[in-house]
Symmetry: C2
Subunit: 129 residues, 2 copies
DNA sequence: GCCGTACTACGATGAGTATCGTACGACCGT
DNA sequence: ACGGTCGTACGATACTCATCGTAGTACGGC
């Protein structure tokens, strides 16, 4: 049987429209500050970003993060992060790899990500969180 | 007739509970990152904060800001900013004066406010907003 | 005492969102 | 081909929120 969405069959110009396993991301120039701040204003998502930042450029599967929510909810949060431009996601086989878009964020909003990460760490220090 | 909430009658220990014209603010140590980011993630509120930052410590009445929303909505946004700890508000007669809590924010989250403001300016440059 | 100004309180509304459970799809082993 | 793992889709739910309009309160000035 032929698969409807062959991931490695070399089809030309594969996009989300033709293949749902290719995930849509905003281009760097389309990333906006407000959605980024909104994405970071949720405790679960902030934690994901912090964990990812600690791994400096590494790729993490969604299930790598031990989150206090179900898988459906987790999917939701990762989508918010991706659509706002904070992270990049791509499928590798059955797992989805996540990376921080640090280069894009730093280029657009210099110092912002670091300030947020530092603030988050400081708050954890301060309040135990 | 006696006023129920005399603002300048020197009553001792006047709080929000006794006088609604005394506005409640979070103490510096109670300010949390997530609500601050959430407060800043709205376009109208971000604009208020930017305008206020330009005035370096000055006090602005609510009506000073020409916002694209009604007065009720404006009240709502100022309250979100105050309750998250981003601004300080106090009554002076019939008007309400607003100031950025820059000292508190800088102490808790060094570089964050500046990064957000810079990012907002850059985005306006970039997209015309 | 009366009026105008500044802001609030309250209720409504429509949109968004954080959460879950269940059912399903894609992929990799074997 | 089969089963397991990883993640999605969809529907439901309850909550939050941005917005408005109307009615009202506090204060300053006349």
């Amino acid at each position: 049987m032929e698969l409807p969405f062959p991931q490695s069959r070399g089809a030309a110009a594969v996009t989300t429209a033709t293949n749902p396993r290719i995930l849509e991301h905003p281009e760097r120039e389309d990333i906006r500050l407000e959605p980024v701040l909104h994405a970071l204003s949720d405790a679960v998502r902030l934690r994901i970003v912090r964990d990812m930042a600690r791994g400096e450029g590494a790729e993490f599967s969604c299930s790598h993060f031990a989150l206090p929510v179900t898988k459906s909810t987790s999917t939701h949060h990762f989508r918010v992060l991706r659509e706002s431009g904070v992270i990049r996601q791509l499928y590798r086989g059955t797992t989805k790899l996540n990376t921080l878009r640090r280069d894009d964020l730093d280029a657009l909003f210099p110092g912002l990500l670091d300030a947020v990460l530092t603030a988050a760490e400081a708050q954890t220090e301060r309040l135990g969180d």
